[in-house]
Protein backbone atom coordinates (compact mmCIF):
# COMPACT_ATOMS: atom_id res chain seq x y z
CA UNK A 1 0.00 0.00 0.00
CA UNK A 2 1.44 3.36 -1.00
CA UNK A 3 1.89 6.05 1.65
CA UNK A 4 -0.77 8.09 -0.13
CA UNK A 5 -3.30 5.27 0.17
CA UNK A 6 -2.19 4.59 3.75
CA UNK A 7 -2.73 8.23 4.66
CA UNK A 8 -6.14 8.23 2.99
CA UNK A 9 -7.17 5.11 4.92
CA UNK A 10 -5.94 6.59 8.22
CA UNK A 11 -7.80 9.82 7.43
CA UNK A 12 -11.08 8.03 6.72
CA UNK A 13 -10.81 5.84 9.84
CA UNK A 14 -9.89 8.86 11.98
CA UNK A 15 -12.85 10.85 10.71
CA UNK A 16 -15.13 7.91 11.44
CA UNK A 17 -13.65 7.70 14.93
CA UNK A 18 -14.08 11.44 15.44
CA UNK A 19 -17.72 11.10 14.40
CA UNK A 20 -18.33 8.24 16.85
CA UNK A 21 -16.52 9.97 19.73
CA UNK A 22 -18.15 13.28 18.81
CA UNK A 23 -21.60 11.71 18.95
CA UNK A 24 -20.87 10.32 22.43
CA UNK A 25 -19.41 13.62 23.62
CA UNK A 26 -22.37 15.67 22.37
CA UNK A 27 -25.01 13.31 23.78
CA UNK A 28 -23.14 13.35 27.08
CA UNK A 29 -22.97 17.14 27.19
CA UNK A 30 -26.59 17.77 26.20
CA UNK A 31 -27.89 14.79 28.20
CA UNK A 32 -29.61 13.08 25.31
CA UNK A 33 -30.00 9.27 25.44
CA UNK A 34 -27.60 7.41 23.17
CA UNK A 35 -28.96 5.20 20.41
CA UNK A 36 -28.01 1.79 21.72
CA UNK A 37 -28.43 -1.82 20.67
CA UNK A 38 -26.30 -3.31 23.44
CA UNK A 39 -28.42 -1.83 26.23
CA UNK A 40 -25.51 -0.58 28.32
CA UNK A 41 -24.68 2.72 26.63
CA UNK A 42 -26.52 4.87 29.18
CA UNK A 43 -24.85 3.07 32.08
CA UNK A 44 -21.45 3.74 30.56
CA UNK A 45 -22.31 7.30 29.50
CA UNK A 46 -23.60 8.32 32.92
CA UNK A 47 -21.04 6.46 35.00
CA UNK A 48 -18.33 8.24 36.93
CA UNK A 49 -15.87 6.90 34.35
CA UNK A 50 -17.49 8.99 31.63
CA UNK A 51 -15.71 12.17 32.69
CA UNK A 52 -12.17 13.12 33.56
CA UNK A 53 -11.84 16.39 35.47
CA UNK A 54 -15.24 17.46 34.13
CA UNK A 55 -14.30 16.70 30.53
CA UNK A 56 -16.25 13.90 28.82
CA UNK A 57 -13.91 11.01 28.10
CA UNK A 58 -15.47 10.89 24.64
CA UNK A 59 -14.18 14.43 24.02
CA UNK A 60 -10.65 13.17 24.69
CA UNK A 61 -11.36 10.60 21.98
CA UNK A 62 -12.36 13.35 19.58
CA UNK A 63 -9.03 15.06 20.31
CA UNK A 64 -7.08 11.88 19.61
CA UNK A 65 -8.89 11.28 16.33
CA UNK A 66 -8.33 14.87 15.23
CA UNK A 67 -4.59 14.45 15.91
CA UNK A 68 -4.66 11.21 13.92
CA UNK A 69 -6.44 12.86 11.01
CA UNK A 70 -4.02 15.78 11.05
CA UNK A 71 -1.05 13.40 11.11
CA UNK A 72 -2.39 11.72 7.98
CA UNK A 73 -2.34 15.04 6.19
CA UNK A 74 1.45 15.27 6.43
CA UNK A 75 4.30 13.13 5.12
CA UNK A 76 6.84 14.41 7.64
CA UNK A 77 8.49 12.09 10.17
CA UNK A 78 7.12 13.99 13.21
CA UNK A 79 3.60 13.61 11.80
CA UNK A 80 4.09 9.86 11.32
CA UNK A 81 5.35 9.49 14.89
CA UNK A 82 2.58 11.69 16.24
CA UNK A 83 -0.02 9.59 14.45
CA UNK A 84 1.33 6.33 15.86
CA UNK A 85 1.64 7.82 19.35
CA UNK A 86 -1.97 9.04 19.24
CA UNK A 87 -3.27 5.69 17.99
CA UNK A 88 -1.29 3.69 20.56
CA UNK A 89 -2.32 6.04 23.39
CA UNK A 90 -5.94 5.78 22.26
CA UNK A 91 -5.86 2.01 22.10
CA UNK A 92 -4.16 1.68 25.52
CA UNK A 93 -6.78 3.95 27.09
CA UNK A 94 -9.53 2.09 25.22
CA UNK A 95 -8.33 -1.23 26.65
CA UNK A 96 -8.65 0.23 30.16
CA UNK A 97 -12.14 1.54 29.36
CA UNK A 98 -13.08 -1.88 28.01
CA UNK A 99 -11.94 -3.37 31.31
CA UNK A 100 -14.12 -0.83 33.16
CA UNK A 101 -17.13 -1.75 31.03
CA UNK A 102 -16.61 -5.48 31.51
CA UNK A 103 -15.59 -5.64 35.16
CA UNK A 104 -16.76 -2.49 36.95
CA UNK A 105 -19.91 -1.46 35.11
CA UNK A 106 -20.95 -4.80 33.64
CA UNK A 107 -22.31 -2.85 30.68
CA UNK A 108 -21.07 -2.28 27.16
CA UNK A 109 -21.45 0.73 24.94
CA UNK A 110 -21.59 -0.22 21.26
CA UNK A 111 -20.13 3.14 20.22
CA UNK A 112 -17.13 2.60 22.48
CA UNK A 113 -16.65 -0.85 20.96
CA UNK A 114 -16.83 0.67 17.47
CA UNK A 115 -14.16 3.17 18.47
CA UNK A 116 -12.05 0.31 19.86
CA UNK A 117 -12.29 -1.49 16.52
CA UNK A 118 -11.17 1.64 14.66
CA UNK A 119 -8.18 2.04 16.98
CA UNK A 120 -7.24 -1.61 16.49
CA UNK A 121 -7.05 -0.86 12.76
CA UNK A 122 -5.30 2.47 13.17
CA UNK A 123 -2.42 1.23 15.33
CA UNK A 124 -0.85 -1.05 12.67
CA UNK A 125 -1.59 1.44 9.89
CA UNK A 126 0.12 4.30 11.71
CA UNK A 127 2.94 1.96 12.76
CA UNK A 128 3.49 1.08 9.13
CA UNK A 129 4.00 4.75 8.34
CA UNK A 130 6.71 4.99 11.00
CA UNK A 131 8.71 1.87 10.22
CA UNK A 132 8.78 1.83 6.47
CA UNK A 133 10.84 3.96 4.14
CA UNK A 134 9.08 5.31 1.10
CA UNK A 135 10.71 5.05 -2.30
CA UNK A 136 11.94 8.37 -3.58
CA UNK A 137 9.29 10.40 -5.37
CA UNK A 138 9.30 10.28 -9.14
Amino acid sequence: MSDRRLRATILVLSLLGAAVAGYLAVTHLVHVPVACATGGCETVQTSRYSELAGVPVAALGVGAYVVLAASAASTSDPARVLGFTAALTGLSFAVYLLYVQAVVLDAYCQWCLASDALLILLVPLTLLRVVRVDPPAG
Binding site: T46, R48, Y49, D77, R80, V81, T85, L88, V131, R132
Partner: protein, 224 residues
Protein backbone atom coordinates in the same frame (compact mmCIF):
# COMPACT_ATOMS: atom_id res chain seq x y z
CA UNK B 1 12.31 -0.86 0.27
CA UNK B 2 11.64 -1.52 3.91
CA UNK B 3 13.37 -0.47 7.07
CA UNK B 4 12.24 -3.70 8.65
CA UNK B 5 15.10 -5.64 7.11
CA UNK B 6 18.69 -5.81 8.33
CA UNK B 7 19.31 -2.12 8.73
CA UNK B 8 22.27 -0.11 9.83
CA UNK B 9 21.75 3.12 7.99
CA UNK B 10 21.24 6.29 9.96
CA UNK B 11 17.61 6.39 8.81
CA UNK B 12 16.91 2.95 10.26
CA UNK B 13 18.49 3.82 13.58
CA UNK B 14 16.58 7.06 13.75
CA UNK B 15 13.33 5.35 12.90
CA UNK B 16 13.85 2.79 15.63
CA UNK B 17 14.57 5.56 18.09
CA UNK B 18 11.48 7.42 16.95
CA UNK B 19 9.45 4.24 17.30
CA UNK B 20 10.71 3.63 20.82
CA UNK B 21 10.08 7.26 21.73
CA UNK B 22 6.60 6.97 20.29
CA UNK B 23 5.81 3.81 22.28
CA UNK B 24 7.25 5.40 25.43
CA UNK B 25 5.26 8.57 24.87
CA UNK B 26 2.05 6.61 24.32
CA UNK B 27 2.68 4.56 27.47
CA UNK B 28 3.26 7.70 29.55
CA UNK B 29 0.21 9.57 28.21
CA UNK B 30 -2.09 6.54 28.44
CA UNK B 31 -0.77 5.73 31.91
CA UNK B 32 -1.40 9.30 33.06
CA UNK B 33 -4.94 9.26 31.63
CA UNK B 34 -5.75 5.89 33.15
CA UNK B 35 -4.30 6.92 36.51
CA UNK B 36 -6.20 10.19 36.52
CA UNK B 37 -9.48 8.51 35.58
CA UNK B 38 -9.04 5.71 38.12
CA UNK B 39 -8.21 8.26 40.80
CA UNK B 40 -11.07 10.62 40.01
CA UNK B 41 -13.62 7.83 39.70
CA UNK B 42 -12.41 5.96 42.74
CA UNK B 43 -13.17 8.87 45.01
CA UNK B 44 -16.80 8.94 45.96
CA UNK B 45 -18.47 11.71 47.87
CA UNK B 46 -16.14 13.66 50.09
CA UNK B 47 -18.55 12.95 52.91
CA UNK B 48 -18.60 9.20 52.73
CA UNK B 49 -18.34 7.21 55.88
CA UNK B 50 -19.27 3.94 54.24
CA UNK B 51 -18.48 2.15 51.06
CA UNK B 52 -20.78 3.77 48.53
CA UNK B 53 -23.11 1.58 46.54
CA UNK B 54 -23.15 2.28 42.83
CA UNK B 55 -20.82 3.90 40.34
CA UNK B 56 -22.83 6.96 39.33
CA UNK B 57 -21.50 10.45 38.79
CA UNK B 58 -24.24 11.77 41.06
CA UNK B 59 -24.14 11.02 44.77
CA UNK B 60 -27.09 10.64 47.10
CA UNK B 61 -25.95 11.05 50.67
CA UNK B 62 -28.25 9.73 53.37
CA UNK B 63 -27.97 10.82 56.98
CA UNK B 64 -29.68 8.12 58.98
CA UNK B 65 -29.93 6.58 62.41
CA UNK B 66 -30.42 2.80 62.59
CA UNK B 67 -33.10 3.37 65.24
CA UNK B 68 -35.04 5.96 63.27
CA UNK B 69 -38.38 4.45 62.13
CA UNK B 70 -38.65 6.78 59.12
CA UNK B 71 -35.18 5.71 58.02
CA UNK B 72 -36.34 2.10 58.19
CA UNK B 73 -39.49 2.95 56.23
CA UNK B 74 -37.46 4.77 53.59
CA UNK B 75 -35.03 1.86 53.33
CA UNK B 76 -37.86 -0.62 52.90
CA UNK B 77 -40.12 1.33 50.55
CA UNK B 78 -38.15 3.95 48.62
CA UNK B 79 -34.58 2.69 48.57
CA UNK B 80 -35.37 -0.27 46.28
CA UNK B 81 -36.96 2.11 43.76
CA UNK B 82 -33.98 4.48 43.88
CA UNK B 83 -31.61 1.54 43.48
CA UNK B 84 -33.57 0.14 40.54
CA UNK B 85 -33.99 3.44 38.72
CA UNK B 86 -30.72 5.18 39.49
CA UNK B 87 -28.10 2.96 41.08
CA UNK B 88 -28.30 -0.17 38.93
CA UNK B 89 -28.18 1.81 35.67
CA UNK B 90 -24.98 3.38 36.99
CA UNK B 91 -26.34 6.92 37.36
CA UNK B 92 -26.24 7.43 41.11
CA UNK B 93 -24.22 6.16 44.02
CA UNK B 94 -25.61 6.14 47.52
CA UNK B 95 -23.50 7.04 50.52
CA UNK B 96 -24.62 6.45 54.08
CA UNK B 97 -23.63 8.87 56.82
CA UNK B 98 -24.55 7.22 60.10
CA UNK B 99 -25.88 9.08 63.12
CA UNK B 100 -26.56 7.73 66.58
CA UNK B 101 -28.57 10.48 68.22
CA UNK B 102 -31.62 8.44 69.24
CA UNK B 103 -29.73 6.61 71.95
CA UNK B 104 -27.49 3.71 72.99
CA UNK B 105 -29.10 1.20 70.64
CA UNK B 106 -28.35 3.55 67.74
CA UNK B 107 -24.70 3.52 68.70
CA UNK B 108 -24.64 -0.26 69.07
CA UNK B 109 -26.37 -0.82 65.72
CA UNK B 110 -24.27 1.70 63.85
CA UNK B 111 -21.05 0.22 65.23
CA UNK B 112 -22.10 -3.22 64.02
CA UNK B 113 -22.99 -1.92 60.55
CA UNK B 114 -19.72 0.01 60.28
CA UNK B 115 -17.84 -3.08 61.45
CA UNK B 116 -19.59 -5.09 58.74
CA UNK B 117 -18.51 -2.38 56.32
CA UNK B 118 -14.93 -3.42 57.06
CA UNK B 119 -15.92 -6.63 55.24
CA UNK B 120 -17.85 -4.77 52.53
CA UNK B 121 -21.17 -5.83 54.02
CA UNK B 122 -22.36 -2.53 55.45
CA UNK B 123 -25.51 -2.31 53.35
CA UNK B 124 -26.53 -5.91 54.04
CA UNK B 125 -26.30 -5.37 57.78
CA UNK B 126 -27.98 -1.96 57.92
CA UNK B 127 -30.88 -3.36 55.87
CA UNK B 128 -31.28 -6.30 58.29
CA UNK B 129 -31.04 -3.95 61.27
CA UNK B 130 -33.91 -1.91 59.84
CA UNK B 131 -35.92 -5.08 59.33
CA UNK B 132 -35.34 -6.10 62.95
CA UNK B 133 -35.73 -2.60 64.38
CA UNK B 134 -37.15 -2.65 67.89
CA UNK B 135 -38.54 -0.01 70.24
CA UNK B 136 -36.33 3.01 70.86
CA UNK B 137 -33.54 2.13 73.27
CA UNK B 138 -35.36 -0.98 74.38
CA UNK B 139 -32.12 -2.90 74.25
CA UNK B 140 -33.06 -4.60 70.98
CA UNK B 141 -29.51 -4.40 69.57
CA UNK B 142 -28.20 -7.44 71.40
CA UNK B 143 -25.10 -9.45 70.58
CA UNK B 144 -27.42 -12.33 69.84
CA UNK B 145 -29.34 -10.31 67.22
CA UNK B 146 -26.14 -9.02 65.67
CA UNK B 147 -24.66 -12.52 65.54
CA UNK B 148 -27.83 -13.81 63.93
CA UNK B 149 -27.77 -10.98 61.37
CA UNK B 150 -24.08 -11.58 60.75
CA UNK B 151 -24.62 -15.27 60.16
CA UNK B 152 -27.35 -14.57 57.62
CA UNK B 153 -25.15 -12.36 55.43
CA UNK B 154 -23.14 -14.38 52.92
CA UNK B 155 -19.44 -13.59 53.02
CA UNK B 156 -19.57 -11.90 56.43
CA UNK B 157 -17.59 -13.22 59.37
CA UNK B 158 -19.91 -12.49 62.35
CA UNK B 159 -17.19 -12.91 64.95
CA UNK B 160 -14.95 -10.45 63.18
CA UNK B 161 -17.86 -8.02 62.83
CA UNK B 162 -18.57 -8.18 66.56
CA UNK B 163 -14.90 -7.74 67.38
CA UNK B 164 -14.49 -4.82 64.96
CA UNK B 165 -17.26 -2.83 66.67
CA UNK B 166 -14.73 -1.39 69.10
CA UNK B 167 -11.86 -1.13 66.63
CA UNK B 168 -10.08 2.15 66.16
CA UNK B 169 -11.22 2.32 62.52
CA UNK B 170 -14.91 1.98 63.45
CA UNK B 171 -14.49 4.44 66.29
CA UNK B 172 -12.99 6.97 63.89
CA UNK B 173 -15.74 6.43 61.32
CA UNK B 174 -18.35 6.88 64.00
CA UNK B 175 -16.81 10.13 65.21
CA UNK B 176 -16.25 11.53 61.72
CA UNK B 177 -19.76 10.71 60.50
CA UNK B 178 -21.32 12.29 63.57
CA UNK B 179 -19.07 15.32 63.20
CA UNK B 180 -19.99 15.65 59.55
CA UNK B 181 -23.70 15.46 60.35
CA UNK B 182 -23.23 18.19 62.93
CA UNK B 183 -21.18 20.30 60.57
CA UNK B 184 -23.91 19.89 57.93
CA UNK B 185 -26.46 21.03 60.53
CA UNK B 186 -28.44 17.83 60.15
CA UNK B 187 -30.72 17.43 63.13
CA UNK B 188 -33.27 14.92 61.89
CA UNK B 189 -33.23 11.70 59.96
CA UNK B 190 -33.52 10.68 57.28
CA UNK B 191 -31.92 13.72 55.70
CA UNK B 192 -30.59 13.65 52.16
CA UNK B 193 -28.06 15.58 50.13
CA UNK B 194 -27.55 15.34 46.39
CA UNK B 195 -24.87 16.52 43.99
CA UNK B 196 -22.12 15.53 41.64
CA UNK B 197 -19.93 12.79 43.07
CA UNK B 198 -16.91 14.27 44.77
CA UNK B 199 -18.36 17.78 44.95
CA UNK B 200 -20.14 19.71 47.67
CA UNK B 201 -23.59 18.12 48.01
CA UNK B 202 -26.73 20.14 48.60
CA UNK B 203 -29.22 19.20 51.31
CA UNK B 204 -32.64 18.29 49.90
CA UNK B 205 -35.78 19.22 51.78
CA UNK B 206 -38.14 16.30 51.45
CA UNK B 207 -41.87 16.40 52.13
CA UNK B 208 -42.32 12.65 52.26
CA UNK B 209 -40.28 9.47 52.23
CA UNK B 210 -41.66 8.44 48.86
CA UNK B 211 -39.13 8.05 46.03
CA UNK B 212 -40.77 11.04 44.30
CA UNK B 213 -39.43 13.26 47.08
CA UNK B 214 -35.90 12.72 45.82
CA UNK B 215 -36.22 11.98 42.12
CA UNK B 216 -36.47 15.64 40.99
CA UNK B 217 -33.20 16.45 42.75
CA UNK B 218 -31.49 13.36 41.34
CA UNK B 219 -32.77 14.11 37.83
CA UNK B 220 -31.63 17.72 38.13
CA UNK B 221 -28.15 16.69 39.29
CA UNK B 222 -27.90 14.16 36.45
CA UNK B 223 -28.94 16.83 33.98
CA UNK B 224 -26.29 19.33 35.06
Amino acid sequence: MSAGGAGGTLDDVNRRRLLLASIGGAAIIAGALIGALALSSGGSSKHTSTTPVGVGRVALLEFADPQCPYCADWAKTSLPTIVRRYVRPGKVQIVFNGMAFVGPDSDAALRAALAAGRQNRFWNVIELLYENQGGENSGWVTDSLLRSIGESVPGLDPQRMLADRTSKAVEEELVSSQAFAQQSEVSSTPTFAVGRTGSQLQLVQIQSIEPSALTPSLDAALGQ
